[in-house]
Structures are given as C-alpha cells and as structure tokens.
Subunit: 338 residues, 4 copies
C-alpha cells in the first residue's frame, strides 16, 4: 500500500499518517518526492483497508501496490532516485564513472591510481579489500589493511570510495571506509548481508546475481530498502548463459525494463561483462546509449601485472581515451559526465 | 590456408595460383581487398604444403588459418566487408536502417509503409511473405502472393527488399523478389538451406540462432560463403536465457568479438531482441554505440492491429523519432545514416 | 475443439461428424482410442460453436482445447500412443533401444553393426546418411549411397532403420529407406520440413531443439500431426546451458511434464546428452527410471576410429553390458526391453 | 601436491611427512584411505619440489594435482567418501533419504513428521529454521525457536537433523542443533560462510548454485575442506535455464562427471529440481539410477497448507509409496536404502 499525500500536505499531516500506520502494526516508509510525499506501507500479510488512510487530512489517495517489491518500484516512488555525494550526484542527469583496480594490491598503486583518476575527472574509486575468489588458494584481498589504504587515498585525493562487503562481520569497518558499499554478484541473495546493509547509512551498489531475473534483483534491493536504506544503485555485470565469446553475457537489454519498473539508478560493469579489455570501450558507450546512469570499470596502472582480472582492466591511457568519448557523447543523452 | 598476393600482383599471377590450387584438388576463393588480393583455400582434409604457393610469382606469403571458419574470418580477409546496393552501401562507414512490418499483410499496408519509409530516408524494407510461425494454425504468410506485393513496392518506390527464405523450394522466387535474402533464427543451422543460398547472387542476412555460439554462427556464414556467396550480413536478435524481462536476451556484447574475428557486417534486431516497442529506441542507440553496422526494426502503420508481432513494432512517428536520434548520433561513431 | 464420441458410436455416426466439420470449412482428425473415438478439429481461427456437434447422434461431448497444441495434447488423445512395427512396438509397455553409428561410414561397418545388434536383441538401427555438420568442410555423410547401405542392412538382418532427413528434397528417398524418419535438433523448427514429413507415412522421431521449451517442441510435433502423420516420437537430447561438464545438459526432468501434457512416446539420446561414452550407461538407466519409452545411443565397432562422434559412442561389449542392465531393470518399471 | 604413503606406512612416518610439510610453510591434510593414507598439501603459490617428500621413509610417491580443487578431487582421495552417523552411513553402498518440510512451522507438525519418518525407516529429517526467502516480506523462518523444536524432534525420535545455516552469526547454534549443516543454493559462493563451516565439526550439505559449473561447485566444497572439514555432501537441486516446464532444470547429468572428478557423496533434491509434487517420484528413481547417493525431498503432513513450497511437497502416503519403490530398486544399484 502506498499513501500519496497532497502536494501541499503539512508535516503534521504526514506525521499523522505515519502514526496511524504504526497503530496498525505496520511499517511506514516516508519518501519525499520532488512535488509531494508518498508513504509506503510494508509488513502487512493480508490486504489493508484503503479507506483507513483516505479519510485522513492531507492524503490524496491510497494505492495498492501489486508488485512483490514495493520500495524499489516506480509505482511507489515515481521520480528517479538521485544520490548526492560531496564529489557529485549519481542519478538521471549525470553519467558516473567508477574506476579502479580489481583489488587493493598495495598502497602505492592505489594512491597512484586515485591521483590519476582525480586528475582526469573521475570522482569514484573502486577497489576490493575483501575479494570473493572462486579458489580458497587464490589471493583473498588485503582485508582491513586494504581498507586503511583506501581511507588514505580518500584523505589524500578526495576521491569517493566504492568497496565490497562480503560478510556481516566486517560491515562496520567497510561502512566506515567507503562512500558506497558494494554487494557482489555471489552475495546478491545473501539475505543476512542484505539486511545488514539495510541498516548502514552509506549507499549500496548491488550487483546482479549471475542468474538473477530482474524481479530477483529488485527483490534483493527491496531487502536493503526494507531495512531503511533507500540509497541502492543496481549494477548489471553480465549473466551466465551458454554463450562463450565473453566472460559473461552483458544484458544491456535489462536497462529499459529496470528503468520502467524501478526508480533506482542502474550502472553497468562492462569489465566483468566482457572479460576483455578491448571490448570495454564499446560496451561502455553502449551502456550510456541504453540508458545507464554510470559504469564501473577496472583500471590498473599496469594491467598485465595485476594480481586479479588484469585481462579486463584498462590502462591509464585507455581510461583517458574512454572518458573523452563519454564526455563527448553524454550530452546527447541529456547527461553530464560525472 | 590463405595465399596473400603482393600488392602489385598481376591478374595472370593470381590466375596461376588459382590453377595450382585446383591442381591439388582444392577450392580457391579469390578475395580482392582494398590494397591487395588474398586467395582462400578450402577443401583440404589434412595440412597443405605452404611452400607450394610461396614459390609462385606475385605471392607474398601463405598463412595457415587455424579457426574452423576460414572465409568468414578476419585472418583471411582483413578489411571490413562492404556490400553495395543501388540504394546505398552496407558496411563500416554507414549505419543502415532496415524497417517494415513483421509480415506482408496486404498490398495497401506494404505500399503505405514503403512510401513512408522512403519519405523519411529509409532505403531497406523488411517484410515476410513466408513466416516461420511456432503454431501450424497461425497465419503462415501470404507466400508467393506476398512476394509480388514486395516486388510492386520496390518498383513503385525504389526501396530495397529484405525478405525471408524458409526452404530450398522457394529459393529462386525469393532471390528474384528480394535484394537481401533473410535466413531466420530457426534455420541458422538448416545446412541444406545455407548451401542453397550459397548459390544465390543476392546478399544473405543471417540471423543468429537462439542458442548459437559466435563460432556456430560464423560457421553458418561459412556454409554460405563456401558455396561462393561472400555477401553475408550477420544479425544478432537475442538469445534464449533464463532471463524473463524481455522476449529474448539481446547480446550486444557479441558485436566487438564478432568484429574482431570476422570481416562481415553485423546488424542488430532490437524488436525481436526486446519484444517490446518501448524498449526498441534505447537498444537501437546502444547497437550503434556497440559497433553495429545497422539495425532491423519492425514498423507498422497501426501496430495494435498487426497480424503478428504488433507489440514490438514501432508506429510511423516512432520510426521518425528514432531516425532523428540515429542521424544525430551516427557521426560520433564515424558513420552516416543510410 | 475435440468431439468425443460415445463408446458405442457407429462408424456412420463418426462419418457424419466428419462431414459436419468439413462443412464448416474446418479439418477433422479422427483419433480412435482404446475405448472410444475422438475427433479433433483444427483450422478454426475463432471460437467454434460446441452445440453444433453435441446435437449429433453418437456424440458424447464437445470439449474446447485450450493448449496451443491440440493433436499432440493428452487432452485430445487420452491414451498413450503406441507405434507398431514388424520388429516390435514403441509405447508405454516397452523400452526400445535404438543403436548404431553416428554416420554410415561404409557398407561393411553398417552390416557388421546391424548383425551385432540383431544378435543381442536390438531391433532398431540408427545411422545417418545425411549429416548436419557444423562445418561445411566436415564429412557431410554418404547421402543416397548411404541410404542404399541402410536398405541392404535392413534386407539382410530385418533390423528397422532410423535415419535423418535434412531437407524436403530427399524426403521420398529417406521415407523409402527408413522405418522411422529422424528430424534433427537443428531442424526442429524448420517448419517447411515438418510440414513435409507430415505427409509421410513413416513415423517421425523429433529431436528437441537446443533451446526449445516443451511447448515449442510439442508445437513442432503439432506441425507434423496437423499434416496427417500422427506417429511422432519425441527425443530429448540435451539443451544448451552455461553448464560445461558435458556436451549438453540432458533435461530428464522434461519427461514427467511431457508425459502429463502429451500422449506421444518420448525417447532420450544420452550420447549427445552427455558427449562422453562413460556417462552413457548411467544416463540410460536414469532415462528408464524417469519414464522414457526408449533410448537412442551411438554404438560403433571401433569408436576411436569413428568418422564422427566417436567419443560418445559405445563399443559392442559396452552395448551388451548396458542391454543386460536395462533388461534386468525394465520390468520394475512395467516395461519389456524391446 | 599429494603425498601417497606406502600401504604399510607407520604412523610415525606419516607424522614425519606432516612435519616436513609444515616446515615448508605449507598446510598438510592427512586423509586416511581404505588401504593407505594420502597427505594433501595446500598453501603453495608456486610449484613444490616433489623430491623433498619422495626421499622420506614410508612415502610411495608424490603427485602433482593439476585441478584447481585438490582436497575435493578424486586424484587426491581415490576412495569414495563415506560419512558415518549414529543413524546410518552416507556413502557409496547406501541410498539415503532425507525428508521433511521446507520450514519448521510449529512444534506439533515437526514432531508429527519426525515420528512418521522414523516409523517408515527414514533416518534424516530436513527442515529450515532460517529460511532464505526471495521477499523480505515473506515468512523468514522461526529462527532459534525453530532450532529448539528440531532439537526436541531429535531427542524424542532419534532422527538426525539437516538444517540450513544462512550466516556466520548463527553458526554455533546451527552446528549444535544439527547433524548435517545445509548451505543453500544462494550461499554456495558466500565464501565467508564456507570458511566458517570449514571450522565446524558437523558434515556440510552443499547445494549447487543456480548457475554454478561443476568446477565452481567443487571449488566451493574445497573452501569448506581447506578449513579442515572434509565431510562435504554435494546436492544437485536444479539450475537456471531458459526451460520453463519446471521450477529449475534438474541436471542429473552432473552426477557421472562429479563422481569421476570427486570422491564426495552427491545427493539430489528433486523437490526444488522440479517444483511439482507429481514429478518428484520419477526424478527420485532417476537420481538413484544416475548414481546419486541420496535424495532430499520435501514432505509435509498437509502440503496444501504448508507455509512454503507446498506445491512441491509430498504428503505422507506419497513418501511411503516412494520409499517402497526405492527399497525395491536400490539393490539393483548395489545400494541399501538408508
């Protein structure tokens, strides 16, 4: 159920609706929009009586939401979600580039990368301190030590940090060190972890699971949002199919329906989506054209010596060249490169 | 094996190489390039002796081709293939829009559509006279009658015709009526049909099979080319996956590797790839950005009354709007809208 | 629409119903069952008036069929279909083993195989004279010469022949030479070919397409049946998925729903389904246990020297061992090894 | 690297090898087999010198393991793994049935189910106290209260408990309450969780991820084993494909290659694999025939009233009937129903 307030509704009227919802043993989710406020209701197992709310002062109408996801749905929150950062805004008018190495390898390479990125106008650094590796014998990331290096890069250059959280145990440490908490593909349906980041006050970048349908993915976002954290960024990174010409099958076709069903920003990771450096620029441009709000790309000072995913990482000249193309094209899609 | 001639090689030298190849019981395929000619050799079951050719006058080098496809491979034909038509050229410098209804429904709608398309600068009309329908009880197309209508549309408006051939029986009739012969998804590995169109003198638009790997697809092109018809256009139209937000999963990520492995032009069909009209424009722009040489879109004067695939057909204003966007963006990708 | 006759309905009453159906411009399909006859109606585009038939003498009821397939549906033909051959019956009480080499390589190997198979009780020989090969440069089968060899094997040993038809051109020759006409995976939606075998008087073994849903597959069977040939055997042979431990993903789970929705017999091809000889016996037993009516396996006198698919072919001792296991287990599933 | 001891090797010789391995900064994994002991070595980043071990007394040979998984590989542990319980043994000579409701709903239904199962000879009860639900608004399980109910069922009936662990936080509680710790499909690559159960002293039932390759799956098992817990049971439960006739595509074809590559027991979950009660018996028998060591099936006293997954749950007479069939058939596969 969604209670839509009149555009001139007073704060006291909103507070009254919230109170009535709580009085029914349900959870209110106040969502201020550009022109008026809507209040989502979750927690009901059966139908809720609409008239209960429609008689309250300041209420325009109460709408039943029929999708299994509510907070993530455009029905419930009509305007595109924008997420403001000191460094810039992620949302419908910008195209955000997040770049950096697969993993934090050592301090000097992270600082070098952060400085380079800032120098070319990139405002978000991605790098993993905790790495979900298929093999228990592979490099598992620098862990807490890696988070310290990321904090240093932020302090030194002002760049915003995007880094992965793999378990509830390290939630506070990652929340502290990052500006955006990444939930990886393999954890898209780790519901305990989703609930935990629902309690964090940092935005969450939620990668699509390898075989997740759009509904599965929006339900995973719903888990985070139901915990109170409404700042979720979806990130398409390719799905598993029979197709073997690339590491994964990048499903750019998910962008228009995701935008139609949900108000959340959506990014694309063409590095994992293709698995090959030389395919990344074309798929980055295609992401912009398909309606994405940003990309997440792997960049490394010396890709051939990367400890992980070197084959899909751009080198610095490659990043610069791609940025030039994106800057040139973004305005034709009503966006500014961020 | 590929015999690469020197750039100044005389026709008589080329003829000599052809003769030697035939003398070995093998098939020569002369492929003139922008700067020099290469001669492909097929038909060998084991290894062929390189030195046999390298000693001949005018030969630069003989290269072993290690891919299972030869004529379709970029190793064998380095330059992008261009296909000239009276109406315009399909190839690396243009972005070609092929539009029209799923099926030929009657003369008036085809003429109306052709006239509209020509008026907005579209030079290729697609429409099926023979329709591969999942159900034997569904409309199977107008058949030969439909071909006549297409011929009339061409005669009246000068538009080039793209139409599907479903069996060897109608090969001559379709070849006669069309400018490009379409081989549908379900027939991508109908090898008898591929061999037959290898004997046609019209270019072939080869749709990717629903679960075809890139190699399967290039091998299907190879079947056509091995018959002597080198004018093959690949067409991505979505593959079958678990993903259910769209009719098919449009694999735009296949474009960069296809371009890397093959010299053939590649189109995208975002209508079948998404199955929903409102998603077609975004995926058309994304196709251009990903490196495609053209698109194949469904357009209908009154989509809601279409006999097939209405949900994924654009109406005329929708086509015009999309063309405007493509015209605006094509130059940024080094292409002219054709 | 399905018209169900009373159990004591006279032939003249059936004829009368047929006449009325034809009078409506529709096609009647008389399907005699164990206890009573049903008459299917196809060809209608809109709804047909039930009462038109229910008033006729001998008619029990008229039932609307809601599935897109009619003749293939169990709604329309309740009893399991049995297909009688001189050599034995394919159907619900038997478990039929069809064995033989991937392709007809030469006369001596085919005769040797046929003689061996007959000696161990196998009554159906599979071998391709026309081979759908991914590469135009691979062995394409012996063609008409191969059909002659198969005819000789039948004449000499009495074994029934199962062989593939790839195009309408060779339909008569294959129909003449075979006891069961095989339609391959890549041609499951070659609708022109399906229509052609609908006119043949030999049973059709219809392999499932690589990415065909159960409905697609039953619709393909419907194409054959709508042409008048009701003797269709479905054959599961593995589908294309991300899974890479075997050549294809053998979908044994399709058997119970196929049996529930359709009356047609269903076979399994564990050779293509696994791609590896050593996995074939386990998956053959699993096919029996899952409810299949038979298997199609590749067998070769000397698999390591096979011209195609040797890796998945059993040698003769392997076939004998597997037959022993099947003979031992079949009765527990209410079947006799055939 | 794998050090294989001579069959008569003394304990002191084994201890010596362990010491040498540790001296190299590597981790030894002593794996006693039926006839002799092997010692796996993990933790090396580069190659290890074989001769270092081959000169030690009691050592037969040192073998390089080339698979990315080591402890899970049959190369490293030749004999099939057997896992003994008070209630019976899971392994190559038995076929184990694990049954019970999707979730612990209340005490009386769990006790009723446990008593019924014990009465018909089933020795393992499955039921979830923590439930991974796609929707945050769906019943999430009874949690710790549910574990108490399971403990009571075990105490009252002696049945062994299989229940899911969803996060590291509840690892001790679940380990305490269960006889087998289940790791669910969505957590197959939750590496933090895998590492945690590697430290548990209870066997782990590891469900296959929805789009996990066999290698991914064995690598997940390796994570658990690398932590010291060698008692891992694989459980196939269907993968995600385009196929829509069942909830998932049950990949029984994974059993022979899994058995060939690994020594671990493998179960099948035909309830999730099909999603439909009526298909469960056929796929259970097929699992036995394909070589599985057991099945995990959903059973409920009143499936139509189940709080989750009722459509795929057998009722009690259905369970009894299936057990009868399995008991009849198991000996033909060299197994005893357990």
């Amino acid at each position: 159920m969604l209670v839509v307030m009149q555009s001139h509704a007073a704060d006291s009227e909103i507070a009254r609706v919230v109170e009535v919802i709580k009085g029914q043993g349900l959870s209110p989710h106040v969502m201020p929009g550009a022109t008026r406020t809507a209040i989502g209701i979750t927690g009901n197992t059966g139908a809720v009586d609409k008239s209960l709310f429609e008689v309250l002062p300041g209420v325009d109408e109460a709408i039943r939401v029929t999708k299994p996801y509510k907070l993530a749905s455009r029905e419930m929150h009509h305007d595109d979600t924008s997420i403001p950062f000191t460094q810039g805004t992620i949302g419908p008018k910008t195209f955000t580039v997040v770049a950096g190495p697969c993993s934090v390898e050592n301090e000097s390479m992270v600082l070098k990368t952060a400085e380079f990125l800032v120098s070319v106008g990139v405002k978000f650094l991605r790098a993993g301190a905790f790495k979900p590796r298929t093999s228990p014998y592979a490099f598992q990331g620098m862990g807490l030590e890696g988070l310290k290096i990321l904090a240093k890069a932020r302090e030194r250059t002002g760049i915003a940090i995007v880094t992965e959280l793999m378990d509830t145990e390290h939630a506070s440490a990652v929340e502290e060190a990052s500006d955006i908490i990444q939930i990886g593909t393999r954890n898209m349906q780790n519901f305990s972890l989703l609930k935990r980041v629902g309690k964090c006050r940092k935005p969450v970048l939620l990668k699509r699971g390898m075989s997740a349908t759009l509904e599965d993915w929006l339900m995973a976002a719903e888990y985070v949002m139901a915990g109170g954290n409404y700042q979720v960024i979806l990130c398409e990174r390719g799905v598993r199919t029979f197709s073997d010409h690339s590491r994964n099958t990048l499903d750019l076709g998910v962008i228009p329906p995701a935008k139609s069903l949900s108000h959340l920003p959506i990014f694309v990771d063409p590095s994992h989506g293709t698995g090959k450096r030389s395919y990344v620029p074309a798929m980055s441009l295609a992401s912009l054209a398909a309606g994405a709000d940003g990309i997440l790309i792997e960049a490394h000072p010396d890709p051939d010596k990367a400890m992980s995913d070197g084959a899909q990482s751009l080198d610095f000249p490659g990043v610069e060249k791609l940025l030039g193309r994106l800057k040139e094209l973004a305005p034709a899609f009503g966006r500014t490169l961020s």
